[in-house]
């Protein structure tokens, strides 16, 4: 009966009449040391700590002097009930019989499939390489000379129409070309010259393909005038602009020109009846 009175006293708190300067309500009849009745259960376990009441060490309200203080400790000692936590809580299936069976769709001919895959890759490579090669070569062909330019680049001369000891001047790529049918005495003269001491030393052999036919560009190597044939001190050509003398092999012998008359690329064809320059 006495314990019942204690409980009743604790629950029906007396009204606070004033507040202390610390802000805590002044409740003189509040019994902070009250304990829940442990004998009411009748389990017979004595005065041990109850599981439904927070233990003393975890904090809680307490009375210091005449004021009420409530503490809750943040550094609560760890519980001693350790349990290992595992990464996976689900059990691994020994037999994953939810996985569909794909064996009916699997190919038995893996070698053939592998060869076919590589063949497809290789075919793609073949076609791309071919396309790249043809793109590049077509692009490069746009830089090449066109057919009309190439047609004008060569000139044919009938050699039978040129008598011995005569000059012919033809136009080739906008420039005059001298063709001389040399006589045997002229050949003799051109060959016997001591060419090593000339300004532009060049033998007559190096300048002609056949000794009787001398083919040269008719442009003076000095400033580009056209020399006059069968003139000059050496029986060859003479440039009237500044007085350069060329001999019967077209080599510079006297005057301001630095080089011999240039020999273009030419060839004989059709049993030596035609001369093709270019």
């Amino acid at each position: 009966m006495a314990s019942f009175q204690v409980l009743k006293k604790a629950v029906s708190l007396a009204p606070t009449t004033r507040t202390l300067s610390s802000g805590v309500p002044y409740a003189p009849l509040l019994n902070l040391a009250v304990r829940a009745p442990h004998d009411a259960h009748g389990h017979g376990h004595g005065v041990e700590a109850r599981s439904d009441v927070a233990p003393q060490w975890a904090g809680g309200p307490s009375k210091v002097g005449s004021s009420l203080v409530s503490k809750s400790f943040t550094t609560i000692p760890p519980t001693l009930n350790y349990q290992q936590r595992l990464m996976h809580t689900s059990r691994a299936l020994k037999n994953a019989n939810e996985t569909p069976d794909f064996s009916a769709y699997r190919s038995s001919n893996t070698d053939g499939n592998r060869a076919l895959s590589y063949f497809m890759v290789g075919s793609m490579g073949v076609i791309s390489a071919s396309a790249a090669k043809s793109s590049i070569s077509e692009f490069l062909q746009t830089m090449a000379a066109s057919a009309d330019v190439l047609a004008l680049a060569k000139v044919e001369v009938e050699l039978a129409a040129i008598p011995e000891g005569k000059n012919v001047i033809i136009k080739w790529r906008g420039k005059p070309v001298f063709i001389r049918h040399r006589t045997s005495s002229e050949i003799q003269e051109a060959r016997s010259t001591d060419w090593k001491g000339l300004r532009d030393p060049e033998s007559d052999d190096a300048r002609v393909k056949k000794p009787e036919w001398l083919v040269m560009l008719g442009v003076c190597t000095h400033l580009g005038c056209v020399p006059i044939g069968e003139a000059g001190d050496f029986g060859g050509w003479f440039c009237p602009c500044h007085g350069s003398h060329y001999d019967i092999s077209g080599r510079i012998r006297k005057g301001p020109a630095p080089l011999n008359l240039e020999v273009p690329a030419y060839e004989f064809s059709e049993a030596d009846e035609k001369l093709i320059i270019g």
Partner: protein, 61 residues
């Protein structure tokens, strides 16, 4: 099966051989493609090209 294995081991296994085969194949393919297209063009335009009607205008002597 045996043939695909033979092809794989002969050509595809080594990358150097594979690439060389691709380039050689591209060369042959280019020539073949060119020839084929030219043949088709000539047959499609038969009688219209200069080389087909040249003999009508130029008498070789």
């Amino acid at each position: 099966m045996a043939l695909s294995n033979l092809i794989y081991n002969g050509i595809f296994k080594r990358n150097s051989v594979f690439v060389a085969t691709v380039f050689a194949g591209a060369f042959a393919f280019g020539i073949g493609f060119d020839t084929g297209v030219t043949k088709f063009y000539d047959s499609y335009n038969k009688g219209k090209q200069w080389k087909d009607i040249r003999h009508k205008y130029i008498q070789e002597d």
